[in-house]
Structure formats: structure tokens, C-alpha cells
Subunit: 596 residues, 2 copies
Amino acid sequence: MSASPLIDRRHLEFALYDLLDIERLMRYPRFAEHGRETFDATIDLANRIAVEKFLPHNRKSDLNEPHLVDGRVQLIPEIGEALRAYNEAGFTAVMADVDDGGLQLPFVIATACDALFAAANLGTSAYPALARAAANLLDAHASVDQKRRYMRPILEGRWFGTMCLSEPQAGSSLADIATTATPQPDGTYKISGAKMWISAGEHELGANIVHLVLAKIVGAPAGVRGISLFIVPRYKVAADGSVGTSNDVRLAGLNHKMGQRGSVNTFLKFGEQDDCIGELVGQPHHGLGYMFHMMNEERIGVGVGAVQQGSAGYLYALNYARERRQGRHPDQKDASTPPLPIIEHADVRRMLLWQKCVVEAGQLLCLYAALQVDRAHDPDPAVQRDAALLLDLLTPIVKSWGSDSSLKANELAIQVLGGYGYTREYPVEQFYRDNRINPIHEGTNGIQALDLLGRKVMQQEGAALKLLFAAMSDTCLRAGDDAELRVHAQQLQQGMRRVGEVTRVAAQRMAAGEARDVLANATHYMTAFSTLTVAWLWLWMAEAASRNLALDEDFRAGKRQACRFWFATEFAQVEHAARLVGEVDRSALDMRPGWF
Amino acid sequence: MSASPLIDRRHLEFALYDLLDIERLMRYPRFAEHGRETFDATIDLANRIAVEKFLPHNRKSDLNEPHLVDGRVQLIPEIGEALRAYNEAGFTAVMADVDDGGLQLPFVIATACDALFAAANLGTSAYPALARAAANLLDAHASVDQKRRYMRPILEGRWFGTMCLSEPQAGSSLADIATTATPQPDGTYKISGAKMWISAGEHELGANIVHLVLAKIVGAPAGVRGISLFIVPRYKVAADGSVGTSNDVRLAGLNHKMGQRGSVNTFLKFGEQDDCIGELVGQPHHGLGYMFHMMNEERIGVGVGAVQQGSAGYLYALNYARERRQGRHPDQKDASTPPLPIIEHADVRRMLLWQKCVVEAGQLLCLYAALQVDRAHDPDPAVQRDAALLLDLLTPIVKSWGSDSSLKANELAIQVLGGYGYTREYPVEQFYRDNRINPIHEGTNGIQALDLLGRKVMQQEGAALKLLFAAMSDTCLRAGDDAELRVHAQQLQQGMRRVGEVTRVAAQRMAAGEARDVLANATHYMTAFSTLTVAWLWLWMAEAASRNLALDEDFRAGKRQACRFWFATEFAQVEHAARLVGEVDRSALDMRPGWF
């Protein structure tokens, strides 16, 4: 079979330049040195490294998972080679200031590049993604000295980073973490505790690992208000930045996963010998807020990685369906006619079109969210504020809808390949396994739904929702010139009214003390909201593609057809799920544990 | 964590005795010697063997997949030990005539036992399931001599069986098979060709393997009307039944699967040395019809196995959610209160209730379908006819809905366990991988949907549909006494009207030559039909549980709550999917290959 591309570049460029018009970013002083040429060259370079250095060992990583040799984590050597190429090309510091040795590129371009690395090899791309997010957190919240000693080595690709939140007894419930920090006379803290599910928690890829650890200073308030953030390096770091001896962080075990096996996942114990030193980041008891700087970047990253597994599976299945011949149309009874490429079968076409819908909308959604990060550099405070609100609102949708829908896309990619798709001789089963973690980590999708309904749409009297709906209304207005798209615009407006209505009902009833009942339907709210959002994205794509006559005719027709398909087959979920929220359905909540 | 049971025995007995009233089967002469005592004792025995012999090596099978040693397939020894225990307990011949050494039990009891073996170990249970189905095919269609020489050794557990349909160039498209059969002077045939995806195609578990092979006699008509069925043993079998030398069936390769690794899956080549002898079963060119005897049994078996993976995951996740403590209610801000068992969280409860809904309805659906096989022994030809129609109608739903919904159930079981669910230290990730084949094999779910809409509901002017709807109407009538259930009965009746309407539209438009357009929405039809059917099953369960005051109070309340949940959260799909069918939606069909 001919090779499938790593990404649909036409769609990527359509999203970046036609829809998001990212060339506007050059008006900001931070990005003034850049232009479409540097953006495209960066994406080209990412594509080349992804194809040459990340893709070839994706299956090998799966078959040779990290293991211990003489107490050290052994990875296949290709991972280190890929990361060296990545770092030498500047991707570790792609967003960092030029003064810090970075390329000072927008996050939206970094996200497009991330998409390529994730499509090629999700496991390997986890290491630099965590390192970069750790550096970004330190850039935002650490002291000048901490940045010099911990952030710079990460940006230079010499060290790596992790985020240490979960503990065995408290997976998602950070209020219950038990890791402690005891103040020392020199201003540092002794750290003691255990952290679970730590990706990239131990390996020999760099000279040090900067663990960013949530812990409670002895005597701190109970719950999340008592959480502080600490820099806890694997090896102690002297004042001059030199690396010393072990910092008493012990690898207590490796987790053996269904997929994403290339990314080592660890159970770590801190301070068993009472010799684990941490440095406080920022103020005591404000650690959760700082950590969310990293967590939110990772949530977008999870969405990007998930959507790209969906994309990789889709492009592979599409290619397969065009080449594999089997069967005939149901009204063709003459067995002497040649078999058809299976893309001619309506149900195969349906499965591919569903994948196209969620993959291309998912990519646009991720880039749109990433662009809001860059708009923080706008000189206008109102733009900054709006961008921050939109980013906050979109983050749980990117993470949750991105991962749920792309997992389903991978399920359909396997189905298109039939029995072959179920074998390890083809890549789609690995995409499916690798992708299955994405609805779980960095806050389960259930938690994302609580975040969306309980917090994000409620903040500032629904200010974020109003902004998003204003963007949707703009699209509806532009679509009004087109007889067919006008009908979809009307559907979208009706959906916005319904989601708006049930959001108000939810707000009123939560204010009336019924939060538990209302939030019991948070996942249905997420379904309604994300289905509506994706419908908007498709209307936007269809409208923009129709308007731009310079685009390829087939490309434009495909966008319109996918828009038609989403409204025909998926949009009804908006009304159904919104109804459950509006009625405060209790059918799950009322179930008693003894009744199962 | 405390161990979860292999199956919810209360639900199984409720289904068998309260709902299906299988004790009525004792009125048939074939089953007159049996009674609830022998049924229960058989299920007890199956449970014991499943727990003691099948369950313990489920993970070991996954970690040690079949491989070649000196050209022979090597399985872990526990598989052979499990099958010996299975055979010694009489399960190989559980349905066979007493005269053939069998237990002459109904298929519905065999299915309940299959459920236990499949819940314990799907891979190992594939071997006897194929053997039994091969024996049943031979019992129905082979000559007396063939039964003596091939069926008896299978029933005695000495030999095994396979079904050989697919070929590398023609997976689902049997019209295009290229395996040939050349008549020999002695009445046998020389077989030549290649067969792909053959489960249990080669192993050393027994002294011989009876391959049931579809092939075309030289000069046969093109397409499926030219297919004949042959008995092709691995080792030649003499007139006295003794096993001779190799029959020139060569193992050309093993398929390496994502899951169900204990069940060896092979690529076989027949007659490379021009020395592969086959015996014709029945009449030439009627092979596909005979094979469907086995295929239909396997389709029910796929549904049973899939639902039981769903069940195993559900029971494990339920147990976990009752014991694992984490987090608090969203309105509980006091972090000094103890964490709750996660079953108290509404979204966890929703995920468990969804699993309960599809697992318990799925088990009832499988048993209901199996009961139709037994009703063939009714002395009344009208009952026989009705049972055959219902079985035909239900088979694609059991296979397709059973496998799709239980895969989603496994996805949710992983989600309930969170990160732990993604690791190989817990069993749910294996259930998910093992289950992923079920929407593919024995006819993909897309093919099942074509079978349902294009054939099963159309046959004999919708006779099967009328029978099923009559059963649904009975339930609605009985539910009318209960104020709450009456509302669901009205919803169900409305759903029946809608499905009936769109079935008529489909019939008319197919008759008008629009089969290709109509069948493009076959999967939506399957969604509408199966969601409706499951709603009926829940109304039936809720009504019967409410009526039977002897049942445990919690058990009864759980059935009512699950019924409420299905109608509240899933039933809307009936209308939505039916609308797409009725409108002959073209949004997928109109997509052109070049537009993707």
C-alpha cells in the first residue's frame, strides 16, 4: 500500500491562514520578525523530523517498552536520537524568548508542529512536551535564579521536566494529597511523599529531571488551599547550576500500560532517606494555581495528541479504502464485474466521513484554542481578556471532546481495515491503544465536564460563553449568503439558543443550592456544547471554503459535504443532550449503589 | 480488592426463569428428561470450570500468544487442560443427542454456559465453540457416514473444527473466493486455495482438525451460487475413521492480534502439493446455505462473547467503584470530610448504569435469540416457523448491537478505573482489546446492518418484524397497569410506529430500484432498531421485576431505574436514526472519494 501522509497539509494551511488568519500575529511586537515563510519553514522542518526521526520507531517503542536494567530505565535508543534532532532544530525552545535562546514563535505554530510529532509518535513526543510545559511554568512563576538554574537547561534540551500531582490514594482528588514539605533553615524544603502516574518520571535522556511537585507545607490549610509547588530535581543543583548527587527521588515502580508504551510512566517516592530537597515556586499555598499553567498547556496537548491519533488513523484508513478492492454495490448482482475499492461502499464512506469530521474540526479547534494563548500578546487589554476567557472555556472541550471523538475515530479506522486493522501488522490498532489514555489523564473527561458546566460557562456571568457565541453568530451571518448554508446557520442559532437556555437553568439551580443535581448531567452538557461547537466549526469551514475560489474544487466540495453530514447525522445530539441538562435529569443520580 | 463474580447470577436466573420461562421447554419431548434442577446444575458446573480452569490463565494467554516451535503451534498448556475439563464435564456435546453421547440440553442453557466460559476467557472458549458449531453443521447437513467419521470425534472432544470462508483477496466478499475443488474418480475432491483469518486453524489440542471449507467446484457458476462446502481434515481420515497422514493443509502464517491472543488465528494453504482431499457436504453449489448454519451459530456466539466481555468489565468496575474512595460531592467543600467511594459520584454512576443497561439487556437478548433455536423442537409448525423468523431477525442485532455496545461498555469500565484501568495490572484493558474483534469477525457490523434492513425485515412481507412487534406490544399491554411504566410503553409504541413507517418507506424505495440509496443508511436503521429493541427489553425487565414481589427489593428497584435511564438517555436515538432512514439521507453516500 502507498504511504499515507502524516497530516493533511492542505487542511492545516486552510485552518492556519484562511480561517485563523494567523498572519495577523505579526502585528504583535513579539512576533514581528516572523511571517508566513518562517511559519511554513518551521512546519516543514517539524514534518521532516517527525517523518525521519519519530515515525520509524513508533511500533518499535510499542514492542519494547521501558524496563529496568541495573536499576535504570532503559529506553530504545531511537527515542534519544529523535529528541536530539528535535532539540537541535530548535523545537524545545520554539516558544521561548530569543533572549533565552528561543525561536519566539507563536503557540499556534508550536501546536501545528506538536501535531506532526504526535501524529508520528505519541509516546516519544510526550518527553519534550512535558519539558516545554515545565519550562513555560517556570518562565511564568519561578524566580530569576530558578529560571537560570532550572529553566535554561530545559530550554537547551539538556534536562527534562515532569508534573507530579497524583498520589496513589488520591488520583484526581488533589485536596487529599499527602506529600509534605518541611521548611529548612536555608529557605529550602524537605519533601516527603509518593507520586503516581508520573510520565517521563525517570530516564537517562538528559543530565537531570526537574520534577514540579505539589506538596503541602507542614501546617498548611486542609484541601487545595494548602497546596504549594516545588521544584524537586532528580539530582541536586548547586547555586552555579552544576548537577550534584542524588536528591533522594526513588523510582518505586513502572506502570505497564495498554498503549503509549514508549513514554515511561512511573511511581516515584520522594525523601525516603530524608534527603529530598525542594525549592518553593512563588508563594506558599498558591501551588495549584501555578500548576494549572502547566496543566492547561498539557490539556491542550492531550487534545492535540488525541486528535492526531485520530488523524493518523483516518489518513491510513482513507488510503487503504482507496486501494483495497472488495465486494460490489448492493444492487450489483453480477459477480463477474470487478470488485470495487471499498471507499465506494456507503458504510465505509460513512465511517471515513465521520473520521474526517472529527479530525478536521478537532485540528481547527486545537489551533483556535492555541491562538488564544498568542492573543495574550495583543497590546489591547480587552483582546487579552477575551482571549483568556475563550482559552479557559475551550480547554476542557479540546481535552474532552478531542479525546473521546478521536478514540471513536480510531475505532472506525480499525473497522475500515476489517481483520487487518485488528492485527499488529497494521498501525491503526496501536493508534487506538495509544489514544485510550487521553480521556483519562490530565483530568478525566468527567472532570472536564464538571469544569465546563460548573466553572467555565458560569464565570463572570457567562462572559466566555457570550464571546464564543458571538464568534458563532459572525459565522452564521457570513453563511447567510448561501442558500444551503443558511439552513445550517439557522440550525446552529437554534442550538445556541438551547444551550444558552439550559446554561441559564443550570446557573439558577446551582445558585439555588442544587449543584449536585445539576452537575450530575455535566457530561450531557459537554456533549451538547461540543457537538454545537463542532457544528459551528464545520459551518465556518464550509463557508470559508465556498468563498475562496482559489482553493481546489474537490477540497471545497469535501468541506461542504462534511458540514452537511455533521448537521444531518450528529447535530440532533445538541437538542437531546441539552434537554437532559435543562430537565435536570436524575436517572443516573437516583441509582443507589445497592441497586446495581 | 475483593473479587468480582463471573456473572450476575440473579440476573441470569431472572432472565431464564422469570422472563423466558424456559421451564416450558420441558414440554418438548427432546427436553422432557430435564428440569430446572438439571439446568441449574449444568450452569453451576460451567461456573465452576470457568472459574477454576478458564479464568486463571486469561492474562497468561494474553502475554504468551501462540507461536511456532519446530513448525508446530505452541499454546500455553492451560488451554489444553481447560478444554479437557470442559469436555469431561460434557460441554462439548451439551446439545447433542443422547444417542450421540450428548446431554441433549437446550441451546438456551448451552448459551448460558457459553456466557460463563466467555466471561472467564474469550480466547480459550473460541476452540470448543468452533468445534461445537462444526459438529452442529455436520449434524444438520452431512451424510450418516460423514457424521460417524467427523462429527462423533468432535463430540467426543478428541478432534476440533474450523470454518474456512475468507480469503486474502476476498475478506467479506464470498462471491469472489478462489479456492477450487476438482472432482476425483472416487467421489472426493482435490482442494486448492488459501484461507485467511482461520481461528483455531492449527494447534495440537486434538488428534485432528475438521476444516469446513467453502470452495468452488471447477466449472461452477460465478458468485455465491457456485459455492460448495467441503470437509477437509488436517489429517486424512480412513473409511474406518482412523487418522492417517497429512492432508496437505499447510499453516502459512499466524496473525498477530491486538487481543484475544489465546485463540490462534491462521492463514492456511490447501493443496500446495496437489494432495489435499475434501469431501462434499450435501449438494454441490449449496455450500453457502449450509455454512450459514454454522455462521449463524457463530454470530450468536460473537454476541454472547462480546456481551460477556462487557459484563466482566462492568462487574469489575462496579466492584472497584464500591471500594475505591476518592473525592467528594461537588457541593462538599470541606476537605476534612472522608473521601467517598467513587460510586457516589454521579458521572461514575452514569457510566456504571450505562454498562448495566447494555450488559443485562444484551444477556437477555442473547438468551431470547437462543431460545428461538430450541423452539424449533416445538411440535406446532407455526411455532417452529415463528421461532425461525425471530431467530433470523435477531441474529444480526445480537451480533452487531451486542458487540458495539459492549465495546463501549468496556471503554467505560476502563474510564471508571482511571489510570489503573489503562494498565495491564488490571483486567479491563484486556477485555477491551479482546472485545475489539467482535464488531469485525463473522460478518462486519456494516454487513449485519445490510442483512437486517436489506433482508431480514423485508422477508415474507415483514413477517419477522410483525412477530417481534407483537412481543413488544404484549409487554406494553402488561406495563399499562403501572403509571410510570405506562409512559415508557407509550414511548415504545411510538418508536415501533416510527420504525415500522421507515421500514415501509425503505421497502417501497428498494422495490422502486433505489436499494443503493436506502441501504446507505443501514447502520442508522440498525441503531434505531436495536435501541428500540433494548428499550423493549428494559420495559419487559422492569415490568416483570415490579410484578414479582418474591424478588429482592434492591434488585427490583435497580431494574426500574435502569429502564428509566435507558428511556431518558438513549431512546431519542430511535427517532433520530429512523428519520435519517425515512428521509433516505444521502450525506455519506454523496461524498466522492476525491473530496476527502
